[in-house]
Symmetry: C2
Subunit: 152 residues, 2 copies
């Protein structure tokens, strides 16, 4: 599984869009891949890119709620085969990557879970408190940076 959609290194690697709460109070960030393709036999191209719709729906819903969750549209999370794909990260917390998310059905679950995640000290929400979608869709998790940061 090569990262076929990741830019080659010569292209634009920038994050496409950032939105969300004041960085000083943001508890976590939902990074939404807007690049990966979902097979859609009913469309002329045979696929769509559902990530942009998911990112927009998350941002709109969060704005209405006024919670301290940021949403970031990202060009590629290198998962590619499991759209929609979302990463959840926060300062000092474990990072989680989720795939196979439905762009409509996942919105409320992701926001509620991001709230649980943001409220936890290390990002590790107890297994039994995780929604079913979150349990089933995990792609990877990564520890927070710690040894790589000067003590202060």
């Amino acid at each position: 599984m090569a990262a076929s959609h990741e830019p080659s290194g010569e292209g634009d690697l920038s994050v496409l869009d950032r939105s969300g709460a004041d960085p000083a109070v943001t508890t976590c960030t939902l990074h939404v891949c807007t690049t990966c393709r979902r097979a859609r036999a009913d469309l002329p191209d045979g696929y769509d890119k559902p990530g942009a719709a998911l990112a927009a729906a998350l941002a709109a819903r969060i704005e209405g709620l006024g919670t301290a969750i940021a949403v970031e549209a990202v060009e590629c999370l290198s998962v590619c085969k499991r759209p929609c794909t979302v990463a959840l990260s926060g300062e000092g917390k474990w990072t989680y990557v989720y795939g196979d998310l439905d762009p409509q059905d996942a919105v409320e679950t992701l926001i509620a879970f991001a709230g649980q995640y943001g409220a936890s000290p290390d990002g590790v929400v107890p297994w039994r408190e995780r929604p079913e979608i979150i349990r089933k869709s995990v792609v990877a998790r990564i520890p927070p940076l710690s040894t790589a940061r000067p003590a202060r």
Copy 2:
């Protein structure tokens, strides 16, 4: 693909071991999963856990080289089905997760690539400069924390 080996939330979630260079000069960290099982029909249990050997080999080789790369043995990276699994992260850099790594063959490649990664400003090594193993084994990548951090 549920994270079947991730502790349930009641168990010990701590990082098992940390080693490596002085945090103040560490350029990046290789997080090695020591939990996931590799099928081994020749063994009584039918599997081994190759991550611990990979983590030990990386730490020993890095100590000999004196490079500013930290190695961290981690209980679970939630990839589970693709041992060995390693995450590469650094302050202000994209995080990458790699799977299907051979515990012997991957050592030199990982150390060399971690050097390229550590020397890059954002962790994005140009595609053509990435070793074949690194290109083929990517599981996911995650942007650095930015909006989630107060500007300073």
